[in-house]
Amino acid sequence: MAERTVKFEVKRQSGPDAAVVWDKFELPYHPGMNVISSLREIAANPTTVDGKATTPIAYDSNCLEEVCGSCAMVINGKARMACSALIDNLEQPVKLQPLTKFPIVRDLMVDRSVLFENLKRVKAWVPLDGTYDLGSGPRILPQVQEENYPLSRCISCTICMEVCPQFNESTGFVGAATIAQVKLFNQHPTGKVLKEERLHALMGDGGIQECGYAQNCVQACPKQLPLTRAISDIGRDVIIQSVKDLFTT
């Protein structure tokens, strides 16, 4: 009986400006294998299906349990985390591509630093006076914690941005992840001291207004963040803020 195998097609690019090539690989099947374990298998024996020696595939990964946000890629046409992509649940050949909205570094690696820059621009932090002992933090009711906690689970994988039709170079849209963080910090008893600044930031070009409400973000988010809810809530807050601005400036 022929040994069961898994076929892969990987979109590769040796550098940001290099030509695109598709390499095909075939691996023996193991129960429980996922895309990452397959990429490792390829690295241990980087030979394409036609016997051509090639380089191991470059990709980002770290925790492998869907909490660090590193290994987002396009698998069979859909952006998702590679570590949780079980081969058993994928159609073959398994097609791997880098995220399409971010600059390519190499193969499946892309540069997603724009998200971290965006988090800076909306001041996504609680402005502490200092780390010295100032006693316990503000009391927060469990209901509030339960509303904030899901937003705090964002892993910065950028999948919400990848799948968003509005996130592209001409809109410069900030994306759902950052808007969700604005909501998170605006709701914190201390964090909300920067609320107006954050709302004003989100009124800039590429801000919340660019959202087209296609709702792909909330569909694709691997951590099921309530992203559309955050966009609506912040959408209301920016409107209220802009009306306030109209009458106070």
């Binding site: 941005m161 039709p165 592209n168 170079e169 609506s232």
Partner: protein, 259 residues
């Protein structure tokens, strides 16, 4: 020794650029686009549909409605400020929005994503339709503000072409769709319906609104091409409009809504 090293992390030079925090006017323009779709354009749309519904009562009633509207104070100013200019803005900025989005419904065929695409196509259909509709009905041929009595006949002539009739029907559906989903989008984006439940309920409301408008629109259309008011007079005199008399041949059938 310790010369400043070039920063290791800079904003990416390629790809989507970071948020321009607090800069630019796109917020105002985009929100104006969103708002203009509801008020005044949406409001006018409803008014226009209701007015046209008068056609079911026949040429005279229709002419009365046209005359009434054209007799409003500052009607030309109102017309330009609350209809034509907002429409033009909504349409052109809408095209700009469409042009800048990159649809990916092929890869992510989800309901919301389909609606995103539909909103753009229906907007486009509405734009083309409204453009020709305004040109042909308002700015060419018999001037209806001056001859409200000619309104029914003018529309009837237009719709006598089956292609135009089909175009009107499609455009009415597209426009109502665009408006109803626009209301839904507006309430979602402006934070009126933030929760999933609220948005679902709003979905039912907007669907009902859309269906009602389509029903009104299509039945008005039927008034012009149906059997009731065949061969409406080319024009009615002001007296005829005022007195509610029609010199044309009597309607072949009494319409249900006729007085």
């Amino acid at each position: 020794m310790a010369t400043a090293v070039s920063p290791a992390v800079t904003p990416p030079t390629r790809g989507v650029q970071p948020l321009q925090a607090g800069e630019g006017h796109s917020f105002l323009l985009r929100r104006l686009h969103s708002l203009s779709g509801i008020v005044p354009i949406g409001a006018f749309l409803v008014e226009h549909f209701v007015s046209n519904f008068e056609a079911l009562k026949g040429p005279v009633a229709y002419a009365q409605q046209v005359r009434f509207l054209n007799a409003l104070p500052f009607v030309r100013v109102l017309e330009w400020t609350f209809i034509f200019l907002p429409l033009l803005y909504h349409a052109i900025y809408g095209l700009y929005i469409w042009f800048r989005g990159k649809s990916n419904v092929v890869y992510y065929p989800w309901a919301g994503n389909w609606m995103y695409v539909a909103q753009r196509w229906t907007g486009m259909i509405a734009f083309i339709y409204i453009g020709q509709h305004v040109w042909r009905q308002r700015f060419s041929g018999v001037s209806l503000p001056e001859h409200p009595g000619a309104a029914f006949h003018k529309v009837q002539m237009e719709l006598s072409n089956p292609w135009i009739l089909a175009f009107y029907a499609i455009a009415i559906i597209a426009t109502c769709w665009h408006f109803a989903y626009g209301v839904w989008l507006f309430s979602a984006k402006w934070g009126i319906t933030p929760g999933d439940k609220a948005r679902r309920k709003m979905g039912y409301v907007c669907a009902a609104l859309g269906i009602a408008l389509v029903a009104i629109g299509l039945s008005s259309l039927y008034a012009f091409v149906g059997p009731w008011y065949k061969n409406a007079p080319a024009d009615l005199t002001p007296a005829q409009i005022t007195n509610g008399e029609s010199t044309s041949s009597a309607p072949s059938n009494e319409p249900p809504a006729s007085k």
